[in-house]
């Protein structure tokens, strides 16, 4: 190694040129960091190759009929995941409707001076702890608390408003509504947290200007704060949707695992993730192809939703600057 200029050892300074060993160590460590980054990329590639590659035979065999098919019957080698896709989307959108409303309300509540800071911190902690509870515990809670709790309401709705497609069938137990309710609770923290960021990013002077024009507290919130933070809040909703689509355990425990397409909130349904959880442990090679295909579909749906969500977030952050 040729040195560009000579450095005299300076005994009266802590500043020293690196020794040869230190340079080797430096190079080695940077190599390790590179390796770490490569491993991340490799992981993504491996995921796509393992799942995508193993889905190829299934794709060749069943083609697009797999996505449009409504029958899942391994005996007759008939596989269709449309009911599961429908259940995934329907339960997630329902959850988004409920969780989105409460999440955004919560974000407004926590950022728009409703509470003294200490109390706001308490509520913020409650919401964050909601996110920490494992999905399987929510499933257990759903079976023993949510289903019995909503049964009277569901029966009443079915009896009085049974002509609406949403209440067409009576609630047996597991079904879309309990699943969507629990799912809503699970995505609420994500939506609340990201929406809070969006609302906090609105410059203070914007709000002050609204008050200055004589707006009431809520006029300022609804007509000034929300529209200004709209992109960020929309991003929060999309990210919440992404989380709902991939959720597995609570759904597998609450949704009823019945392959059918129905608008009724009380009818049992199926989701892609629950389908995988229940069928994978017992799948033979023929079924593994099919399940890998279903995994791929799930991966693509969540990927698209998450990409849309993150790009909206990116836009809103750039907009804020």
């Amino acid at each position: 190694m040729n040195k560009p200029f000579a450095v005299l050892p300076l005994h009266d300074s802590v500043c020293q040129p690196p020794t040869a060993t230190q340079l080797v160590v430096d190079r080695g460590f940077r190599g390790l960091c590179h390796l770490g980054v490569f491993l991340i990329l490799l992981l993504v590639v491996a995921l796509v190759v393992e799942i995508g590659g193993k889905a190829v035979p299934g794709m060749q065999k069943y083609g697009t009929g797999f996505i449009a098919g409504t029958v899942w019957d391994p005996n007759q080698l008939q596989y269709g995941i449309l009911p599961a896709i429908w259940g995934t989307l329907y339960s997630s959108l329902l959850a988004l409707l409920i969780g989105g409303f409460f999440g955004v309300m919560m974000a407004i509540f926590l950022t728009q001076d409703f509470l003294p800071p200490r109390l706001a911190a308490v509520f913020r902690t409650i919401i964050e702890l909601l996110a920490a509870i494992p999905s399987v515990v929510y499933g257990l809670w759903g079976i023993f608390v949510v289903i019995p709790a909503i049964r009277p309401l569901a029966d009443w709705l079915h009896q009085t408003l049974g002509w609406l497609p949403f209440f067409k069938s009576s609630l047996s137990g597991p079904g879309l509504l309990p699943a969507a309710l629990v799912l809503a609770i699970m995505i609420l923290p994500t939506i609340a947290a990201v929406s809070q960021d969006a609302l906090r990013a609105v410059p203070l002077k914007t709000k002050q200007a609204a008050y200055g024009m004589g707006a009431t507290h809520w006029e300022a919130i609804l007509k000034v704060m929300l529209p200004t933070a709209a992109t960020g809040i929309f991003g929060a909703l999309v990210l919440g949707l992404g989380r709902a689509l991939g959720e597995t355990m609570a759904l597998a425990m609450l949704v009823g695992n019945s392959n059918q397409i129905s608008l009724s909130l009380f009818s049992p349904a199926n989701t892609l993730a629950a389908l995988l959880a229940l069928n994978f442990p017992e799948a033979g090679p023929a079924e593994v192809e099919v399940l890998m295909y279903a995994s791929l579909v799930l991966m693509l749906i969540t990927l698209v939703v998450n990409l849309v969500g993150s790009s909206i977030m990116l836009m809103s952050q750039q907009g804020a600057k």
Binding site: D26, R30, V44, M106, A132, V136, W141, G246
Partner: protein, 297 residues
Amino acid sequence: MRNLSVSDQPAPSLQRTLAGRSLRSALLSGLAWACALIASVPLFSVLYMLITRGGSRLSWEVLSELPPAGFEMGGGFGNALVGTFVMVGIAALIAIPVGILAGIFLAVLGPGSKLATMARFAAKTLTGLPSILAGVFAYALVVLTTGSYSAPAGGVALAVLMVPIVVLTAEEALKMVPKVMKDAAYGMGCTRTQVIWKIVLPTGMPAVLTGVMLAVARAAGETAPLLFTALFSNYWLYQDGSLELMGPTASLAVLIYNFSGMPFDNQIELAWAASLVLVMIVLVINIVSRIIGRPRF
């Protein structure tokens, strides 16, 4: 002023709207309060159920014994507790070094490089990966190759979920280290490795640890990736002098799932008790990570 002088009538309409507007505002505030309270109900309901139904069953016996067969009374989930620790440990051994190294690269070594952009994108994509797909991946990669359900297979599946959290939080944490501190060290002739080890890591460590602990907490509660990688076992990993890492391994999360679907009251009580233990583990990790990661200055 002109208005005042001209108006021989009072302006009731304006007052009424103002009153109406205030009323609407008050109503909406009430609604916001109601929403906040309703949103807090689930947490308290879950905690209430865990404490009343799980807490009544919690005892040393439950923490130290093996799961009961279908009809038996008593029993516990000692092996599942151990299994959860072992698999989260394996996952942490894989995910933390990889995650922190990659985080260092993203924050310090090449933040603007193309590689970093790609890796950042990859990590963000991975955070959105449904956890069941991590299980599918580990099943294909580990279970089918080794020919057995095992603790390492479960560990790999959990690691896939931990890595992106560690990477992204480590990057955020290390980026926060003030540039002047690094510049001072470079100026003294430090190599980049020395800057990282002596300046960046010590300064950013609390925040990195927060991310690591959040990742651990998430992994401890995951069920879906373990269903068909670690499966479940009714026995201890380590029994009478032999360690069976390469066999099916119990975990708290899978035990809760299995027992919640059983018709026997004993098992359902155990599912609640196991949930209480699992939630306590997760919450303790969360709270500790908050204390560690609290901004100090």
